[in-house]
């Protein structure tokens, strides 16, 4: 156990924890917007798969990672649009329509993967970029300022999302629509438009989250490669109390436990690896339990809006 806590090991765990947090951050911040406007999008996992596939395919065919990223965002936008039509316009039960979106995304990404790629191939993804000056700081530079672009993007997204939600007119409208859509409607806010916007934004970010797997973290595409990460992202929104900074805390906690668990396996410490892999999920349940009563949940979450009701 002692060798687990040497300095290089700890630095390694923090470094990979930050890297692993990337997909969760994109997906969960996007989901925060959707839920703050009152829409529970449970289809994040399926959207991530479509983003991961599209990003990988486009990047491989064009040789341009940024085009891949754009492709992933577009795929995410389309999936978000589908979810908006179903859950906002057609007012479908949100928990169940999310399952449908997941099956759709899982099936379609697998289908396209089998038809266009056939087998698992890897790609040279986004490479770490050392930030000038900051990257030279001993230890800290290595941990915080030597990552790929998508990692920086994910962490910059948190304050940005916080600012947009709390300090802009758009953010105010999103929160109003999520708390009391009837009142917002009376004041002239277009509830449907706001919800379409947030769910589509969530879709775009979930698509990028998928690409951060296939273009930066793992650098390949595989059938069902997210294996439920999208659901963890939804759980992180609850855990983070629907606030971007809270989501950041949850994502980091989850990823550090995950990184620790990976390290335990590498070091061959006597815990069966399958049991170690369970830890983050058990932790998530515990975290949900602890945050369960702290009800800051948007009042209109999962409730479709119909003008003239109440």
């Amino acid at each position: 156990m002692a060798e687990l806590f040497t300095l290089p090991v700890l630095l390694g765990i923090i470094y990979s924890g930050i890297r692993l947090a990337t997909p969760y951050l994109y997906a969960a911040i996007g989901e925060t917007f959707a839920q703050r406007s009152g829409v529970l999008n449970l289809g994040v996992d399926g959207i991530m798969l479509m983003g991961a596939y599209t990003g990988f395919y486009v990047a491989m065919k064009t040789g341009n990672l940024f085009l891949g990223l754009l492709g992933a965002a577009t795929a995410g936008l389309l999936m978000g649009l589908l979810m908006s039509v179903v859950s906002v316009s057609l007012q479908a039960e949100q928990g169940i329509s999310g399952i449908g979106l997941n099956l759709f995304g899982l099936g379609l990404s697998t289908l396209l993967f089998k038809v266009t790629l056939g087998g698992v191939e890897s790609i040279r993804g986004f490479q770490p970029i050392r930030v000038p000056l900051l990257g030279q700081i001993p230890y800290l530079g290595e941990i915080f300022f030597n990552h790929n672009l998508l990692v920086y993007g994910a962490f910059l997204l948190v304050p940005l999302a916080n600012y947009v939600l709390n300090n802009t007119t758009f953010g105010l409208k999103v929160r109003a629509v999520g708390q009391n859509p009837q009142a917002a409607d009376t004041l002239g806010v277009n509830v449907t438009l706001i919800r379409y916007t947030t769910v589509c934004l969530g879709g775009i970010l979930a698509g990028i989250a998928g690409a951060s797997l296939s273009l930066a973290l793992i650098n390949l595409f595989q059938e069902n490669m997210t294996s439920g990460m999208g659901f963890i992202a939804v759980a992180l929104v609850y855990f983070g109390g629907w606030r971007p900074w809270g989501v950041l805390g949850g994502a980091l906690l989850f990823s550090f436990v995950n990184a620790l668990q990976l390290w335990v396996q590498v070091k061959g410490i006597n815990i069966p690896s399958d049991i170690a892999v369970m830890m983050p999920y058990i932790l998530t349940i515990i975290a949900l339990t602890l945050s369960g009563r702290r009800a800051r949940q948007p009042q209109a979450l999962t409730k479709p809006f119909e003008r003239g009701e109440n």
Binding site: V86, A92, I99, F104, G107, G228, A235, D274, I282, I285
Partner: protein, 359 residues
């Protein structure tokens, strides 16, 4: 003009009943577009699919074999949804049920068949109930969102299964041969469900599942507990006002949902594989949800729905072999069916609301 309103009402009601049923044809139509885009003749692909699923004895019995776990999981989903809780944990509950059935029957292999077989299936159901009960109790006591906790329980069950099948529960023969395939020892023959037809996999579990469907129907519509579960699902506030302990019945519907998924796992090992294998579930936890929804959340409606989707799963494999259209197409179709069914409910809700305002 009373005659006309009567007519429109009838028309509306017919549309309301038929609209969800359109989900499958429409999803298949979109699937046909995709098949066409792949450069394959959709008629040929679907021809192989339905021929493979329902066109001959071996295909049809195989469809019924696949329909069995779908129906059992679907019954659990039906109870949970009727109780107003969303159980996405079928996958994990099924795995845990299968593990427990395997461990129990191997551990007590000297019991006579008449005791061992029912006990094995009962243990499977109980373990599933425990796995569904954790999210149930967490929701009732601490308000933890059951959608998320059941998903986490899925992941935990999967890892538990990986661990047990590579370690404590691995078939000793696998270690001897050095092949190390992650599967358990064979169940004692006394714990096998009987085969119903020679040279097919069709087993007694299919009959058991249909009996269960009837029992669930009686339970939900003819008993007080079932009535309360439905009352809680329809309107929790009204149920609370009527003195029904809402949380208790929500937890109960998750526990019962888990029991049926667990039973599905027990039936799979006892009827089909005769041992616990990796990937036993193969997504039944999710496709069972589709069967339940398409069966309009009615236990008896789930029977034909399960046969249909069991058939699609079997036929998809044949289609993949014959026409190179990946069987993942069926997952796309399942997803679309769910989206269409939940979207079509707006029609019924709008109508109910109009009725309400009219008084």
């Amino acid at each position: 003009m009373p005659a006309k309103t009567e007519y429109t009402r009838l028309l509306n009601r017919t549309i309301e009943a038929l609209l969800p049923l359109l989900a499958v044809p429409v999803a298949l139509l979109i699937g046909a577009g995709m098949i066409y885009a792949l450069g394959v003749n959709p008629f040929q692909a679907y021809g192989t699919l339905f021929q493979g699923a329902f066109g001959n004895v071996s295909g049809f019995t195989q469809s019924l074999v696949k329909a069995t776990p779908l129906l059992l999981v679907g019954l659990g989903v039906t109870i949970a949804f009727r109780g107003g809780v969303i159980n996405i944990g079928g996958e994990g509950q099924l795995i845990v049920g299968a593990l427990a059935a395997t461990a129990f029957s191997i551990g007590f292999s000297d019991l006579p068949r008449i005791i061992l077989l029912p006990l094995t299936l009962l243990i499977a159901a109980l373990s599933g109930a425990v796995w569904g009960g954790v999210p149930g109790v967490l929701k009732a006591r601490l308000g933890v969102n059951e959608i998320l906790s059941t998903v986490m329980m899925n992941a935990i069950a999967l890892q538990l299964s990986n661990y047990l099948l590579r370690g404590p529960m691995i078939d000793p023969a696998e270690i001897e041969r050095g092949t190390q395939i992650a599967q358990s020892d064979l169940l004692p023959q006394a714990a096998w469900l009987s085969r119903l037809m020679p040279r097919t996999l069709l087993h007694g579990g299919a009959i058991l599942a249909v009996i269960m469907a009837v029992l669930v129907y009686i339970f939900l519509w003819r008993t007080t507990i079932g009535y309360r579960i439905r009352a809680v699902g329809l309107n929790p506030d009204a149920a609370r006002y009527a003195g029904i302990p809402v949380q208790f019945y929500q937890a109960l519907s998750l526990i019962l949902g888990g029991a049926f998924a667990g039973l599905a796992g027990g039936v799979e090992v006892s009827g089909v594989h005769h041992r616990m294998i990796e990937g036993l579930s193969g997504g039944y936890g999710f496709s069972g949800i589709v069967a339940a929804l398409f069966g309009k959340l009615h236990p008896l409606g789930a029977i034909p729905a399960s046969v249909l989707f069991g058939g699609l799963l079997v036929g998809a494999d044949r289609m993949q072999r014959a026409t190179q259209v990946p069987s993942a197409l069926i997952t796309v179709i399942l997803g679309l069916v769910v989206l269409f069914v939940v979207s079509s409910e707006i029609w019924a809700r709008r109508r109910a609301r109009r009725r309400e305002t009219r008084g």
